[in-house]
Amino acid sequence: MIKLENIHKSFGKMDVLKGIDLEVNKGDIISILGPSGSGKTTLLRCINFLEKANEGTITIDNLSLNVKTAAKKDIIALRKKTAMVFQSYNLFQHKTVLQNITEGLLVVQKKPVKEAKEIALELLKKVGLEHKADAYPSELSGGQQQRVGIARALALNPEVILFDEPTSALDPELVGEVLDVIRKIAKSGITMIIVTHEMNFAREVSSRIVFMDGGVVLEEAEPQIIFNTPKHERTKQFLKRLTPELTFDI
């Protein structure tokens, strides 16, 4: 249901993505792993056109866009099928927690106020923050802000949620609460693409792991295969460095 074909992206003279192909089925939980600078985040941001790829086709459901010719209204239509959780949360600072979640429901989906509030409160309960509905983001911890960020993404009931290193900006003791929330929603069957450095988490929740390096997908397989019998040298080195307890030999 999500299909990326031959995605190229360069910043100036630097080729960040060199022809990425990726297919994601409904309900898949894909983790994208790889060293810094491998293009993971750029790929994720190309999916919802926060970064405009130079070449390629992006398909979500029945909407297929050639990145070169995509019009503004097509891009907005595609974005309505996706939601994103950001590394630095990016909550709307001037809106309360509740308003952060209802904003998209009211403005983009044009839902009535009462219904939007109900959805928001239900999701806040899901992420364990119903008591913070009227707080402003500046009054919350990083972990709480990110849980609101997740609730905001869930509220729109998107086809796919894109997670851009959702725990990288958090203090170590706050990582757990956010991962717990993502685990919980992973079980609800929603499609997710996660860029992360949390190896154990990726191994546990993903249905598939995509390993990227130098702007290409090096390999792609179920977690037990990637973590136990990786094919590429680069994958082996990377995983071994981050998770020394792995048993394979390099």
């Binding site: 926060l50 907005i76 950001f86 990016n90 600072q93 403005v107 905001r152 729109l156 894109l162």
Partner: protein, 232 residues
Amino acid sequence: MSSFFDIGYVFEAIPKLLSYLHITIEILVLSIFFGLILGIIIAVPRLYKIPILKQIATLYISFIRGTPILIQLFLIFYGLPFIVGMVGIDITRMDAFIFVVITYTLSNAAAFAEIFRAAIQSVDYGQAEAAQSIGMTSWQTFSRIVFPQALRVAFPNIASTSISSLKDTSLAFSIGVMDMMGRGDTLITATMNALEVYVALAIIYYVIVLLLEYGYKFIERYLNRYLVKEAI
């Protein structure tokens, strides 16, 4: 010329001067209102780096900032009829009040343009991306997410510019507008009580500024409502 300072005349002058307060307020309100609109328009080319228009806006702002308001007032008063006259429109008989409003609008617009530009750039771009990522249009993103937060940053500067502008309106009488200052001038000519009239004017301007500052503080408190309390 009276040799003593006549405190009684200060209180006598205040109501006479106040009867022209509405002119001062009209100049201020009109020039701030139009200045805000023009200021946003001038800020756009610099925010979006539109070639040529950007340079024109930069030059405009630098010229206004670099010249005294009194000279701008005379430039508009004598220069504008000349320029407009070249295309065959005669505005030499136009009310001086309008020249004053035009000058202060142009001057405020330059200040507001810089304030808006800095304020809009100060809003974290990540929030705009978050808005776009949920399918909001550029306009929705600007008007609902970026602008309200930019306004908070801009407001204290807009407030202080408007207070300077209020004080600058006292120059309007130099091209013949009968505002409080102009009325003061005629009182001085008639009574020779110069110091008393200036003291009265000082009191009036000072009280208006205090009232404005008091009002602005309330607005600021509202705009800052979402900041952590200790941080304010």
